[in-house]
């Protein structure tokens, strides 16, 4: 299938690559299908959720476990059930990023990760009781230094 994308122009992908978001994303409830596309040279640490129906709509995303070792989201029972799993560890998590200039001012939303069941390809966004919506990217490199 061919897709028009915000960052990569026209691309071809397998139809099975499409992630299903039955509830859409918060504020984008009509957007039910996205592709998770990696930026080249990022080793899958920097990606984007590209809307299938709206080429100009894409969310920059990161693998939160690259950013913070301690990130451990806990979903509510009804959220786990909607994704057909028994525990939070069975799902995959990507956090959306607000990109700013200079990029060190960019923030990631640890409170509202996009959660994916990689087997069923079903996904949704959740609001966690833990974490903040605006973690400064530059703070994570500090955390790493402190660990070292």
């Amino acid at each position: 299938m061919e897709f028009n994308t915000k960052y990569f122009g026209a691309i071809r992908c397998d139809e099975e690559s499409i992630l299903q978001f039955p509830q859409g994303l918060f504020g984008f409830e009509d957007e039910k299908e996205f592709l998770l596309l990696p930026f080249e040279g990022s080793d899958e640490s920097l990606l984007c959720f590209q809307s299938v129906t709206t080429p100009q709509l894409a969310f920059v995303a990161m693998n939160p476990f690259f950013l913070s070792r301690s990130y451990a989201p806990i979903l509510k029972p009804d959220e786990l059930e909607s994704l057909d799993v028994a525990q939070s560890e069975d799902l995959c998590y990507y956090t959306l990023c607000v990109v700013k200039e200079p990029v060190s001012k960019s923030t990631v939303n640890f409170k509202c990760p996009v959660v994916i069941n990689d087997i069923t390809r079903k996904a949704r966004q959740v609001i966690l009781d833990q974490y903040e919506m605006r973690h400064l990217l530059s703070d994570f490199s500090k955390e790493e230094e402190e660990e070292a």
Binding site: F8, L37, E101, S106
Partner: protein
């Protein structure tokens, strides 16, 4: 700001036609019933905040995402060796024969 105490089953009235009733208090959770005219929008605050943050995340008119490459930690190897409870197994979509840049 008006601050008042209510017990389970008690209500407050706002304006002429909005009633807020405390149904139950269970530990740190409070169950609230709101009776209001249909045209009055009622949202959980964090839902609105999440929607606003998503709107900000979808608009990168002033910044280029690939500039982040230098900032994002990329020790993939370490991540894969790490024995942690959480691990992202999703394979991102593969771009087959990119037709344009």
């Amino acid at each position: 700001m008006l601050v008042l105490q209510r017990k389970e089953g008690e209500s407050i009235i706002i304006g002429n036609d909005t009633r807020v009733t405390i149904l139950a208090v269970e530990g740190s959770r409070v169950r609230i019933a709101i009776e209001a005219p249909k045209e009055i929008p009622i949202f959980r605050k964090e839902l609105l905040e999440a929607a606003e943050e998503n709107k900000a995340a979808s608009d990168h008119s002033e910044a280029v995402p690939t500039h982040l490459l230098g900032v994002v930690r990329r020790d993939v190897e370490k991540y894969e060796k790490r024995k942690q409870k959480y691990f992202n197994k999703v394979k991102p979509a593969e771009k087959l024969n990119e037709t344009s840049k």
